[in-house]
Structure formats: C-alpha cells, structure tokens
C-alpha cells in the first residue's frame, strides 16, 4: 500500500511536471508538502512523529521516488537519512523533540554538510572547524555539493572541534551562515545544490550532537543514504526500461517494430536481467538491514552495483530510442545525467570499490600509507 501511494504520487504529480522543473532548475515546493503529508520522510525512524517503517519499505519508497527523478529521491534521502537520522541517533532528547516532528512533516527541510571544496572522498581531512567560545560555538569553513542547502531551515554540519569531528545543527538564520545555490548543473536539475559558508558563524552550545565523535557520525548517515540509493537506482533503471520497451514496440523500421529485432530484444532482456538482479540485491540488503545483520561493505556493493547498472541501462535505453532518446519528451537523458551524479555522490564508485577491496584483502588502498 505504501508503494502504491508513492507510485501514484509520482505518476500523478511528479512525472507530468518533472521536465518543467528541470528546465526551471527548481524543486517544486508542492513535492515537499506532499512528501510530508504522505509521511514518508525519515521513513525508517521510530518515534517523534516519524513513520517507523521497515528499511525494506524505505527502500521501496526510494525506488518509486527515483523512478520519477533522482532529484526527488535525493530530497527524501537527504532529509531522512542525512539530516533527520543524525539528530535521531546522536541528538539530545531536546533536539529530537524540537526538530524531528517538524522535519517528518516536511515543514522544515534539512541538509547535510560534510563534503568540502577540497575534501570529498577523504572527509577526515576537512578544514571546517568549530571553536568553543564558552557560551557558544564559532564555526568557520565551507561545504560544497550540499543538496537542499539553500532551501533548508537547518543543516547538520560536520566540523572539527579540537581536532575531533563533531556534528552541529546550524539554523538558516544563524549569524555568519549563508547557503548560496550552485548553478549550471547538467544533472539533478530539479534538485537544489548549494554551498554552505560559515564565517564566524555563532551557534548556541546546545546545538552540538552529543552522541557521536569522529567519522562514525557522518558515515552512519551515509550508510543509510547509500542504502536508499541502491533501491533508488533500480527505480531510475525501471523508468528507462519501461520507456525503451514502449518505444521499441511503437517504433517501426524496415516495416516492423524494432522490438521484433533480435538485437533490440537482446538489449531489453539484458536490462530486465540486470534490473531483477539489482532489485534482489537491494531487497536482500533491506532484509539484512531490518534484521540488523548488515555490514557497511554490503551497502557499498549494492550502491556501487545498482547505480552502475542503472547508468548502463540508461545508455542502452538511449540507444534503443535512437535520436529521440536525447529529447526531454523521454525520460532517458534526464535519468542518465542524474545517475552520473548518483554514481559519484555518497561515496564514489571507485571509493566503494576500495571499501570492498579492503574487505577482501585486509589492505586499505585509500592512501599511499599502509
């Protein structure tokens, strides 16, 4: 029933408007309202007016949202996994009571500040720092590639306090904080991407997340977001497959539908095969998440594989669509361009390979130092 609810929303409210939203470079506010009303934000979190669904159900929601657009799923991922989750897991009781109900309803949008202009795959070397000024903290630094940044009422920002990475809740009106939007994207055009700038940004002492120190904090959030991506990519792939199937059945060349030719059928069969495998992978991972038997490497494998095949499926689908595949009349190029971002964010494809490589060999290959 949850799947049908989200699927109907995407069919009725998102797909008819997505190309317009992309052209305008906006995330329609009514989608924020609808996601809040449906009660899917922070889907697997329990209490504090959060939905309390299973991780498998959360995954299905991500799949359905990304069948519409990766920007839509990104909005939900950032809100739920990257902004609500750290407050839910590492926040004080007062922080949970104050922020989570407003975020679950969509009234407040959150964002997540980890990546910096010079530190993406190695966030441990981040520059952004916090200083304890006695009665407040002072933040200085900059974050980049932040989904929802400009439209968010709060940011969960990771900064070094005395050399240790800590989480801080920054509200949009805090002095010294600004979030200019990044323009000129060819990907995730219906999603707001921003910089977060902290210039002597003064925040109250009760905004630090008390429950976590070090990279475990942001990585815990990323694990949940990456899990959602492993499902979301399946949705994007399904959209491309559906379009390719319909197009190939209606496109006549050499007096027959191109779907009747073996080369096209081979492509469609391969797409279906990979979608099915990816979905089984995501589903199995969802079961492990719900049972608490997962490890981060499971998530790396699923995120990496599923985004990879979704991108390949988008390319094959574009091929089947011929020249028409480049038009925004079809969803193909939009998904393909989106997936290029999805392949890189939340741990690049290569970094996930290195995570698996370390797991297999016991040797880390992220840095030159062994």
């Amino acid at each position: 029933m949850v799947r049908d609810m989200v699927r109907d929303f995407v069919d009725e409210e998102v797909i008819p408007k997505i190309e317009h939203a992309c052209r305008d470079g906006v995330f329609p506010d009514e989608w924020r309202v609808a996601l809040g009303e449906m009660g899917v934000l922070g889907a697997p979190l329990k209490g504090y007016d959060c939905p309390g669904l299973s991780y498998t159900a959360y995954g299905v929601i991500c799949r359905e949202l990304e069948r519409g657009d990766s920007g839509l799923r990104s909005f939900a991922s950032v809100q739920g996994s990257l902004a609500m989750y750290p407050i839910w897991d590492f926040g004080s009781e007062e922080q949970k009571q104050h922020y989570l109900p407003k975020m679950a309803s969509g009234e407040w949008i959150g964002c997540f500040g980890l990546t910096e202009p010079d530190y993406g795959s190695n966030p441990g070397d981040m520059i952004t720092k916090a200083e304890d000024m006695g009665d407040h903290y002072l933040l200085n630094g900059a974050k980049m590639w932040i989904t929802n940044g400009t439209v968010a009422q709060l940011a969960v920002v990771w900064a070094k306090l005395d050399g240790v990475i800590r989480g801080f809740i920054v509200e949009k009106d805090d002095p010294g904080f600004s979030a200019p939007e990044m323009k000129g994207k060819h990907s995730l055009k219906a999603s707001v991407t921003s910089e977060l700038v902290f210039q002597d940004c003064k925040i109250p002492k009760d905004r630090i997340l008390p429950g976590v120190k070090g990279l475990r904090g942001p990585f815990s959030c990323l694990n949940n977001a990456r899990y959602g991506i492993s499902w979301g990519a399946v949705g994007a792939a399904q959209a491309c497959f559906d379009s390719a199937k319909e197009y190939s059945l209606s496109r006549i060349q050499f007096t027959h539908p191109i779907a009747s030719y073996q080369l096209v059928q081979n492509k469609l069969a391969w797409m279906l095969r990979e979608i099915t495998k990816a979905q089984l992978l995501a589903y199995h991972l969802g079961q492990k998440k719900d049972a608490g038997t997962w490890i981060p490497e499971h998530i790396s494998l699923a995120k990496m594989n599923n985004v990879d095949i979704a991108l390949e499926i988008a390319r094959e689908a574009r091929d089947i669509h011929g020249a028409n595949g480049i038009l925004d009349e079809y969803c193909i190029m939009r998904h393909m361009a989106n997936l290029e971002s999805v392949k890189t964010y939340e741990g690049t494809h290569d970094i996930h390979n290195l995570i698996l490589g370390r797991h297999i060999t016991g040797i880390q290959a992220f840095t030159r130092e062994l």
Binding site: M1, V2, M5, A34, M38, G39, A43, P51, G52
Partner: protein, 280 residues
Amino acid sequence: MHFQTPRVRSLIFIDGIPVEGTSKGNHMTIAVLLKQVPDTTAKISVNGGRVDENAVSKWSFSPYDEYALEAALQLKESAGGEIVAITAGPARCEKLLRDAAAVGADTLVHVSAENINDLDSTQVQKLLAAAVQKSGASVIFCGKQAADTNAGSTGPGVAELIGASCVTLVSEVSSDGGGYTATRPSSTGHEKVTASAPCVFAFDKGVSEMRRPNVRGIMMAKKKPIETWSLGDLGVDIEANGVNIDSHSPPAEKPPGQKFEGAESVSTVVSKLRDEANVI
C-alpha cells in the same frame, strides 16, 4: 436490453424519516458503497467474451466512488460521525477496503460474493441494501455509476429497497445538523437539494479529488478488521436474475476515412478541413 429497474422514488427530493442528530458529537453513520474495478490505465484482456480478471494488472476504486468517499470524509470532519465502507465482490475487494481505511473509513464491510459478475444490478442492489441496513447507516454515499458497467442503478436501487430518498449527480453534501443539503446540476446551473435521513446521494464528479493516504493511515488500515458478511449473514435471498439481455449489438462501424499522401494533396486536405469538416 430490457431492464427491470426498481421504481425510483425521486431524483430530486423526498422527505424521509427525520434525521437523528447530525451535529458534531452525535452519531451519524455514513455508508459509502464502493466498487472495485480495473484501473482505467490497466490493460484489459478479454477471454471467452469476458474480461480476464487474472490478467488485470491493477484494480482501483471506481472513480465516482472516490468522490463519494471523499465527500463522506469531509462530512464526517465537519459534522462528526462514522464511515462504514461497504463493498460486494470476491476476496480481491478487501484491498479496496484497506485503501478506504487508509484515508479514513472507520468500519470495513466486505459482502462476500465470489460470483459478483454473474449477478445483475438488482441482485447487487439487494446485497448492498441489506448490508446498509445491517450496518445501521442512515446516510448512503455512492458513485453515480461504476466505471466498468456504467449501469448507474446502484444508488437509486438501494434507495428504493431501503425506503430512502435519493439524490443523484451530486457534487457536494453538507449537513446543518437537521438534514443534508446536496449540490447537483440543474438546467440553469446548480441547485441545492435538501433531504433528511434515510437518504442516498449518488455522486458525479465532486468538488474534491480523493485525498492521498499517508503512512500512518496505511499502518492503521493494515490492522483494521474487515467484517465479512455472507448472503446468509445478511438474510438475503438472491432469486433468479431480474435482468434479461434480449440482444446486444456493437456500435455501428465508422465509415472509412479518406487518405491523402504527398505534398500535392495539401490544398485538397486544407479545403476539406475548412469546408467539409469545419475545423479550421
């Protein structure tokens, strides 16, 4: 086609039994009659002269029933009371009831009828009328017609069987605590029709689309019990079909169109579109 449609008392307004308290806090039970039909976007396969139900990819509310349900939810919100969602059909219909519960229906009633497609309109009306009476509802909302059969007889038929007023083609219903006011089209625009319980309102396109469910509603709906009533429970005796289809004929075939090819035919096509079809 020969229909033995029951006598419909009125399509405009007949006073019924005085309504028993419709103000907030008093108990008003609204029965909403719902039919599950193949979704309008679902592909239909015909097998043996019938729709192959196993091949229907998606079942949905009949669209006019959605307007009835939404209007009932709004009436409950403004005037209080309880909503009983009633459907008749095979086991697959339970999904429909859960969907109704997810948006706010309080009680779910499934009139079990595996052979629903073998029953005619009057037999279905009997089932539904008995279920309405067993539910204790005094106000009944339904769609003006179902999207699959388009018979349009359920509302008036149930009203006749339970001795209720019936207002059809309704877009909106409100309650002032002493009766119900329905908005429906008239020859000059819209008219307000008042009725008191027991009454049936058969909905045309309403003023509000059915609301979207939310996760909380869905979780509650999954736990909500469904009361399943058999013909025996309802004490209904379904006699032989009261509807006899004497003959059936497809619509007349359209005359063949004209085909033009090549740039040299443009002027001919334009003149035909302008002078014969009058579309340009």
